[in-house]
Symmetry: C2
Subunit: 201 residues, 2 copies
Amino acid sequence: MPKPVRRTQAERIEVTRNKLLESAARGFSTYGYGNVRLDDIARDAGYTRGALYHLFAGKEELALAVIDWVSRTWRAEVGEPAEAIADPAERLVWTAQAHARYCRKDVAAVLMSLRVEFAGRDHAVAHALTELMEPLKATVAKVITRGRRVGSIPPGPPPRALASAYLGALEGVTAAVGGPPHDVALTARAVRGVLGLPNPS
Amino acid sequence: MPKPVRRTQAERIEVTRNKLLESAARGFSTYGYGNVRLDDIARDAGYTRGALYHLFAGKEELALAVIDWVSRTWRAEVGEPAEAIADPAERLVWTAQAHARYCRKDVAAVLMSLRVEFAGRDHAVAHALTELMEPLKATVAKVITRGRRVGSIPPGPPPRALASAYLGALEGVTAAVGGPPHDVALTARAVRGVLGLPNPS
DNA sequence: ACACATACATACATGCCTGTATGTATGATG
DNA sequence: CATCATACATACAGGCATGTATGTATGTGT
């Protein structure tokens, strides 16, 4: 018996919460919001639904918490570091590559999975997702506009449409390729093409 | 009262079947396989579940029929015409553009929607989808290989990985852009980038 | 025109999953 | 160490969607 370590309540709850969030992310990502059973999520994390309902009000709140959790880590690992890059074109390409690396963690796919499932629906999860994507798209559009003013991104379709395509290419390619060793290079290729940048070769 | 036209049984059943398939495609695409209710699908087509269960063994068979139905129209409108184009690079770019136009019909999104929902699961629908995508990916890989031999596609990542990225970019961009007037141009940009082709400018 | 088959509607039964209420064990406080 | 609070498990209840069985109307063969 591996010694019943005495943990403080705050520690216990944080450990449990994180385990549940991770299992939930995997569950939502693999089975979808509607198909996954809370029992599976809890059991996968090593608990029962009792723990889950103690920490989250229900399935919907759990999904919202997962979205918040994943988007936080995304910002930390992809969004924030990208802001250090001055040149707009470089920054967008770097972001794409960082996103591809980020998506190697299986939990990352949960955002795309949920977005597809809730696309065009009136649901709290759907609203959370659009409130997450909308500013991101706006930011990308702004970077594109700046890039064109500076001359590092060639002219073409309107920035907002281009931003949508950029994000779509990002997710589509990373999801389809599904990991190393070519995910980063191929994602970069795709977004370069979308932005109208020449391939570096 | 609009005259009770006397239709033959074969006609009745075909009309009904098609209406149900179209509603099912919309339903699966909007709500997902697990979330949509067969009652909604039937009612949307102007029938009840009675008609649905008379024509299809159940939800699963309905989904399989929808997949078959959509893939047929895709082949007719995108796959087959593309084969007329000799040059490999041109053919792949044209296919992407034709796919973008094809996706303007709302029912087209059903394949991507189902693929995301069933990705990595052991389910009859999942198998049907992989059996549909696998040959397609193989074909694209072959065209890429030929294109490189001929010199119309530059060297780069292995053909299979490139084919995955090509299809991912295709779906990602069309789904994200979501229609005219820029869908075709942006999709072409993305796949050109993935394939390593120079942008025509 | 009659009996039969089939397209489709309505009514019923079953199972599963969410949500809630209750119970138990472990950590906190005096 | 005794009492309380909290993390988590187990037990119960309700709803909702699938699937099935039965009923009705429309087309078909003789």
